[in-house]
């Protein structure tokens, strides 16, 4: 999947987990930029992304994530 396709599919996941229907994230968005993207939601978010894209991340990989772009790259490498 391309970066833009994954980003498009990530939008509703972010909107649902963070309870913000108008939220739009970009590849450069970080947890600091989004109000409710805290440690509680981060774990839920990662679990939902895993299920949606049918991929499995390791803890090591997840701990290195800094922005949405990193999540997209991780999904791409897991699907490859």
């Amino acid at each position: 999947m391309s970066e833009s396709e994954i980003l498009l599919e990530l939008q509703p996941i972010f909107q649902s987990v963070l309870s913000n229907p108008s939220l739009v994230v970009s590849t450069e968005t970080t947890a600091h930029d989004v109000d409710d993207w805290d440690s509680l939601n981060h774990a839920t978010l990662i679990a939902k992304i895993q299920r949606h894209f049918k991929v499995k991340f390791s803890l090591f990989e997840v701990l290195k994530l800094k922005k949405v772009g990193d999540i997209i790259q991780l999904i791409q490498s897991s699907q490859a």
């Binding site: 509680l40 774990a43 839920t44 499995k56 701990l63």
Partner: protein, 477 residues
């Protein structure tokens, strides 16, 4: 040795002088020698324990970094963590098995077969141990390579201004700072001395004032009224704050003299709206350490491997703060302290959305402030007493208002009105005016006002040192 006392300040100035007299490439050598030297000066055992932890972590990180396959890296990290935790339990929590034995022997009515070891806790042990654990974790996740210079590593782990009680510095910030050339700068000295002066004032003057007011409330069988004990309970929290934040300012100011910006540990904690907000403002370097190195990996692991449901998050936060409590010591008091914090934070974390609505109106915010302070003031009492029986008895006595009709003065302690007014003025000034940033506040004042302020602080410190300086509470952890 007390970090606000003349021996430490004298030692600090001597090391700063040596530091700037040698070329840049030898400055970390000066820090390392001074740090190990200070520990050895206080007690040879302290220096020995520090060197064991340092050498163990220095070589373990190089070993982790040499593993390129993820599985091998995991195993190397796991072994290194186990080694560190074994050392931590052996030295700091040596009596934990004795205490567990006590619990069972009380139930069974038989003598405790596990002997008490009562080892002396090396100065700064928990602080440099946690920094070492964080460092292993950062090397493991490739935030930076393992440090190859033992001198730099000793300087990072044992930098003496932070050895007494932190702040806990991260290898990601402090190791690069140690590799940056440092020059003598007027600003560093001016800001450094301001911070030290303000810290010594809080540590010696305010903390001792509060100590003199509350000490009688904590003497067993004292005839203190319940109301006075309640007041002492609130003041004790303020004493811990003035003492610990005073010490932190001394550490931060000393760091500035060497050209380092250490981590700020406090950000107006008494203005917190919730307990989670409180832990973002109180002992910040420890709470963020716990969140980054325990809570986040644990909650993600549960979420990824066991269940993404909220119970995993609640369990993670509870375990993390239980461990934060145990970090202070192996007494049941600290376990209870951690359990109180963990339980309330677990409830707060799942009720975040509904609480947000309440906190948006003024009444909700006031209720949030009051309940947060009440929780912390009550749980802080577990730090003051020796065991939970003593704590419970103390609360029983404080809540017994049957003698509250008696005068608030008692035979050996007059109602300390002037001290209370002075403490109140300090509190308002510190939390609402200075806002844990004395450097910024002084920067905005003119020279006359600044020097008047310094003179007042120096006068109060000289007058304050006539009474004995109490040992730093957080130094014991």
């Amino acid at each position: 040795m007390n970090p606000a006392g003349p021996y430490f300040i004298g030692f600090l100035l001597a090391v700063v002088l040596a530091y700037y007299l040698v070329p840049n490439r030898f400055r970390n050598h000066v820090i390392s020698m001074a740090s190990v030297g200070l520990l050895a000066w206080i007690d040879l055992w302290f220096a020995g324990a520090f060197l064991v932890v340092t050498l163990m972590n220095f070589s373990a990180a190089i070993w982790i970094d040499s593993k390129h396959q993820l599985k091998q890296r995991h195993q190397a990290l796991l072994l290194s963590l186990l080694g560190n935790i074994a050392l931590l339990v052996a030295i700091k929590h040596s009596n934990i098995f004795h205490r567990i034995g006590d619990l069972f022997s009380n139930w069974l009515g038989s003598p405790n077969p596990i002997p008490a070891l009562n080892w002396i806790l090396p100065l700064g042990f928990s602080y440099y141990m946690f920094q070492a654990l964080g460092y292993q974790f950062e090397v493991y996740r490739k935030s930076h390579p393992a440090e190859k210079s033992l001198i730099n590593f000793i300087a990072f782990l044992g930098f003496f201004p932070k050895i007494f009680a932190g702040p806990l510095e991260r290898s990601t910030g402090f190791l690069p700072a140690l590799k940056t050339p440092r020059v003598l700068e007027y600003d560093n000295f001016s800001h450094g001395f301001r911070l030290i002066l303000w810290g010594v004032f809080k540590f010696i003057v305010i903390s001792n004032w509060i100590g003199s007011i509350i000490e009688t409330s904590y003497i067993p069988d004292s005839e203190t009224s319940g109301l006075y004990m309640m007041l002492s309970m609130v003041l004790y929290t303020l004493q811990v704050y003035t003492e610990f934040s005073g010490y932190t300012d001394i550490a931060l100011g000393s760091g500035r003299l060497f050209g380092f910006q250490l981590t700020q540990n406090f950000r107006q904690p008494f203005l917190a709206k919730s307990l989670s907000d409180f832990w973002r403002r109180w002992h910040i370097s420890l709470s963020t350490w716990v969140m980054d190195y325990i809570y986040t990996p644990l909650s993600l692991w549960i979420s990824l491997r066991i269940s993404p449901r909220k119970w995993g998050i609640m369990a993670s936060i509870f375990i993390s703060f239980l461990l934060l409590g145990i970090w202070h010591g192996s007494s049941w008091n600290f376990v209870i302290f951690g359990m109180i914090q963990g339980s309330i934070l677990a409830i707060e974390i799942i009720s975040l959305r509904s609480r947000k609505k309440h906190l948006s109106n003024p009444l909700g915010r006031i209720a949030g402030h009051i309940s947060t302070m009440a929780i912390f003031v009550v749980s802080a009492q577990f730090f003051k007493t020796n065991n939970y029986h003593e704590t419970l008895n103390w609360f029983r006595k404080a809540l017994d208002f049957s003698n509250s009709n008696s005068s608030l003065t008692f035979e050996y302690n007059q109602w300390p009105t002037y001290h209370l007014i002075a403490i109140l003025i300090f509190f308002v000034f510190d939390q609402f005016v200075v806002r844990n940033n004395i450097e910024k506040w002084l920067d905005k004042r003119n020279a006359v006002l600044r020097w008047l302020f310094y003179s007042l602080l120096i006068y109060a410190i000289i007058a304050g040192t006539e009474s004995s300086v109490q040992p730093l509470i957080y130094q014991g952890f």
